[in-house]
């Protein structure tokens, strides 16, 4: 199930609904992405140079491509289902304006074996990050700026291609 929405969602309530719908799935993995209150490049700087000023984010704006977003998320979910035996899965993604601490994305996967649930959940997050048409814009005291895509996300996404190729070669 896929939901792309402007409205906030309640991760705990969504999780409980998902669990209630899948009482026979031994393992349920899930992931929640939240809006942070300092911006992404600074996070790595803070670790190496604690004296650098943090640029506080007042809000996060998420633009998306209506129609393609749903289509792309459905493709990613179908791909996950073809790779792992899953009982069920759900992806909820917000767009619009959010404030720090707000959940942006929720992915839940249910499977008999926890390894399948974990792998599918992480795969969906990695592919969503590199394929689903969303663009983040951070608003802070210094103005608004579009978030740059990260090379690490491309790398994480590419891992799944490699492992697909590797298993085919076995």
């Amino acid at each position: 199930m896929i939901r792309v929405q402007d409205d906030p969602f309640d991760p705990g309530a969504e999780l409980n609904t998902f669990l209630a719908r899948n009482p026979n799935s031994g393992g349920v993995a899930n992931f929640i992405g939240q809006v942070r209150d300092f911006n992404s490049p600074d996070i790595d700087n803070i670790k190496s140079s604690p004296s650098l000023p943090k640029e506080m984010i007042s809000s996060l704006e998420l633009e998306h491509y209506p129609g393609m977003t749903e289509k792309e998320l459905r493709r990613i979910c179908d791909d996950a289902k073809s790779r792992w035996p899953l009982d069920d899965m759900i992806v909820i993604h917000r767009y619009g304006v959010m404030t720090p601490g707000d959940p942006i994305v929720l992915v839940c996967t249910a499977a008999t074996h926890r390894g399948d649930a974990f792998a599918a959940c992480e795969f969906v997050m990695d592919w969503l990050k590199t394929h689903a048409p969303f663009w983040k814009r951070e608003h802070s005291s210094t103005g608004a700026s579009w978030v740059e895509a990260k090379a690490v996300d491309d790398d994480r996404s590419a891992r799944w291609n490699r492992s697909a190729t590797e298993s085919k070669n076995k």
Binding site: G33, L62, E63, H64, Y65, G67, M68, K71, E72, H93, I104, V105, M125, L128, K129, T130, H131, A132, P133, F134, W135, K136, R137, W146, V147, E148, A149
Partner: protein
């Protein structure tokens, strides 16, 4: 038959609009050809689309590369690398 051309994020901002309807001539057969046409339309278009390493494209809501065909395409979208999740 006009094609819907969509822009997102900073590409939309630079071009100044999110949606255009363009009648491409018959010799415009790939995404790269279409970009060539679009860059002629205004300095804003030329600026937004000049560095193709920063631009991604979808034809009829499917990710494609620059050499993909746009024959029979109803919708072409240009956007920066995605940053959701």
């Amino acid at each position: 038959m006009a094609t819907t051309v969509l822009y997102f994020a900073w590409i939309k901002e630079r071009i100044g609009t999110g949606e255009e309807h363009i009648e491409f001539s018959n010799d415009v057969s790939t995404v790269a050809d279409a970009i060539g046409v679009l860059k002629q339309m205004s300095p804003q278009h030329a600026d937004a689309l000049h560095d193709m390493t920063r631009v991604r494209v979808a034809v009829d809501q499917t990710h494609v590369s620059f050499n993909a065909s746009i024959k029979n395409a109803r919708e072409i979208a240009f956007f920066p690398p995605v940053t959701g999740g």
